[in-house]
Amino acid sequence: MAFGPFLLLALMEGLVTAAILALAASGLSLVFGVMRVVNVAHGEFYMLGAVLAWAVTTMIPGPPAMAFLAAVLIAPLLVAALAAAADGLILKRLNYDPEATIVATIGLLYILQQAALSLYGPNANPVAAPFTWRIQLPWFGYSGYKLFVVLAAILVLLALWAFMTRTRAGLVMRATQVDRTTAQAFGINVDRVYMGTFALGAGLAALAGVLIVPVQQAQYLMGHDPLLLSFIVVIIGGLGSLRGTLIAALVIGLSDGVISMFFTPTLAKILATLLVAMVLVFRPQGLFGAKA
């Protein structure tokens, strides 16, 4: 394939990766920024989103678009509720101690993964896309749904940005992020903020899972990669910076796509990983974080 179309394909693929990553990572960034909790189970919320999307679409008869819309609404809500419960039952009792929460969320990861395996099974099951429009370019074909994923992610992120900057709840969350003690002194119910943040973060991961499932199938181990990549994005973007998270997702998604053009796949992965690691080594505060 000629260089031009090849690059185009690499960029399109990179954009899709970036879109999903931006959603999952913004959820992690919130949890991490506001609560200072390293949520190892974040990828499992993503997986649950995908698995629940499968469950919802198989239960609801009718055209794929309707079933998928239902999944988009129901799955993230269920996952958010589950996360809120986990926060109240476990994380809160640990006083959000950074080390203890790592162990607790590893435990949660095992529990959620086993639940998915026992109740849903080990197979990768497909979910029909809401529409089957395909773009046929002269050089290759491309799934129209993938482009829709990019669009949907942009809309969700805009809504999130508006929520964080334009609403009282967003203001309260940002205040808690900056200084928990002062926020408490001003009468903010920090416990509720934390629970809300954890639920919102998990809901965003689940939404990313729902959006990706028509492309990548629901499988009980699928949370692994998004977890690692989300962490990388959050750190590269700079702690607590939503804009940074977004740009880092773009950088990682696109560089992953473009580097894979020039090298054999495994070598490309090695180089892309080292590149991102080096960015952090020489700019430890991330691209957009304030100097620590």
């Binding site: 394939m1 179309p5 090849f6 394909l9 690499a10 693929e13 990179g14 899709v16 990766t17 086993q114 395996l117 099974g121 080990p122 197979n123 990768a124 099951n125 497909p126 029909a128 089957t132 395909r134 046929q136 050089w139 290759f140 074909g141 491309y142 799934s143 492309v215 990548q216 199938q217 499988q219 009980y220 181990l221 699928m222 990669d225 796509g257 894979s260 053009m261 054999t264 796949p265 495994t266 992965k269």
Partner: protein, 423 residues
């Protein structure tokens, strides 16, 4: 804690006692009550889980059939399943547990080749027969040991070399290969490249995809335009994504002929939306998933016993598609064990060495209910079995068998003689 320190004492004494008793009494008169215990290393969790549960079901079905027919040498048989999490380290611990703690006579059932590599050394240390169902070339290549055998499934090297002549004659001679970047994929790369060259063809590009990959589209542009045949094989949870993205990539445009190993579609329904582009393409199958028109007389019995319908899906859930081209190996391995044990009048763990020697002496394995996939030939020197292979075409969303190879087509020169190694 107590269960951690002392749990096995009694179990070991009982197993040991049974062995002593069996050794003391002539024939199997005294041992009749004591069951033969076969340990099964199962991929219940981890990336092998989709295969694991079908391995479990098939082995259970064979166990029931064997016990109903009087067991092995008149003794009942037990299977003990233990999860290895599809991990080599846990795998070797499981061999240990099944052998030393559960007192199994032998261990079988492993599929993923890195688990085989990690577990085989421990099996040799414990001097316990270790019968894998993995199709890897690791056994016949000589990388393993006297105690490790693969009597239930043809290895990848033989499978591949039987495919090349057909591919060159029917699909084309310029081949691009897409395969996972680990041993299983490397076997495909090495042996198919050599085999197609022998047919006057060539491999124009080799695209190795890292095993951690979940998205593949970006690698497809590396497929050269001159490619006549795209040879694809993928394993793991992302297989359906792989074939779907391949379909999207080519779409309605011109595309090379597709030849895949059914590993890319094991446990996946070929009629899944998005796979329409596979129509007319070809797959290697060890055992045709959709019952062939000329299927052997035991096919129905086997399917019924395992609980699989004529499309290769579970009888209780048509969407639950089996790993049909691999799972028969557990069935055939159990019957192979039965044959060898009865040949040496196996009485207990003291006979393990004799048992391996008896297995090495086996050669012809005719078609029958013992071998629903077809007749086999066992090579005692390389510890590897050879059987016939099939090529199926997707017609109307179903895999239809169009070609069968002979056992002889898959034979190759021995790379090792395990019988010359010490126990």
């Amino acid at each position: 804690m107590t269960s951690f320190i002392h749990p096995t004492r009694r179990g070991l004494l009982m197993a040991g006692g049974a062995g002593l008793l069996a050794a003391a009494l002539p024939g199997h008169v005294g041992a009749q009550a004591a069951p033969i215990r076969i340990g099964f290393q199962l991929h219940r969790t981890g990336i092998g889980a989709a295969y694991g549960r079908w391995y479990e079901r098939t082995a259970q079905a064979a166990l029931t059939a064997i016990n109903e027919a009087g067991g092995i040498g008149g003794r009942p048989v037990e299977l003990l399943f233990e999860d290895d999490a599809t991990d080599p380290k846990r795998g070797s611990e499981v061999v240990d547990k099944l052998t030393q703690q559960a007192g199994c006579d032998l261990v079988m059932g492993t599929l993923f080749s890195h688990v085989v590599m990690g577990s085989a050394p421990r099996a040799a240390e414990l001097k316990v027969p270790y019968l894998v169902c993995s199709e890897g070339y690791h056994v016949a290549s000589g990388a393993l040991n006297r105690w490790t055998l693969q009597p239930g499934i043809t290895d990848v090297r033989a499978q591949i070399s039987t495919m090349a002549p057909w591919v060159a004659a029917n699909l084309g001679k310029k081949v691009t290969m897409v395969f996972p970047d680990y041993a299983f994929g490397h076997d495909h790369r090495d042996f198919f490249t050599a085999a197609i060259q022998a047919q006057g063809g060539e491999v124009v590009a080799q695209i190795a995809v890292p095993p951690t990959e979940t998205s593949f589209t970006r690698y497809f542009p590396q497929i050269p335009a001159e490619t006549a045949v795209l040879y694809h094989v993928m394993v793991g949870p992302a297989v359906l994504t792989f074939v779907k993205e391949l379909g999207e990539f080519y779409g309605t445009g011109a595309k090379p002929a597709l030849f895949g190993f059914v590993d890319s579609l094991e446990a996946v329904d070929t009629a899944t939306p998005g796979l329409e582009f596979l129509e007319g393409s070809h797959f290697w199958e060890a055992h045709p998933r959709v019952k062939a028109a000329d299927a052997g007389e035991h096919e129905d019995h086997y399917r019924a016993a395992v609980g699989v319908d004529d499309n290769g899906a579970s009888v209780s859930d048509a969407k639950d598609v089996s790993t049909y081209s691999h799972m028969f190996s557990t069935w055939e391995t159990l019957y192979f064990i039965k044959q060898a044990m009865e040949a040496v009048d196996y009485a207990g763990p003291a006979d393990r060495q004799k048992l391996v020697e008896a297995m090495e002496a086996i050669t012809d394995l005719p078609y029958g209910i013992e071998r629903p996939q077809g007749a086999k030939r066992f090579n005692g020197k390389t510890h590897q079995v050879f059987g016939s292979q099939h090529i199926s075409q997707v017609q109307g969303g179903k895999l239809v068998k169009v070609h069968a190879t002979t056992i002889d087509e898959g034979l190759y020169e021995d790379a090792v003689d395990y019988t010359s190694m010490s126990f």
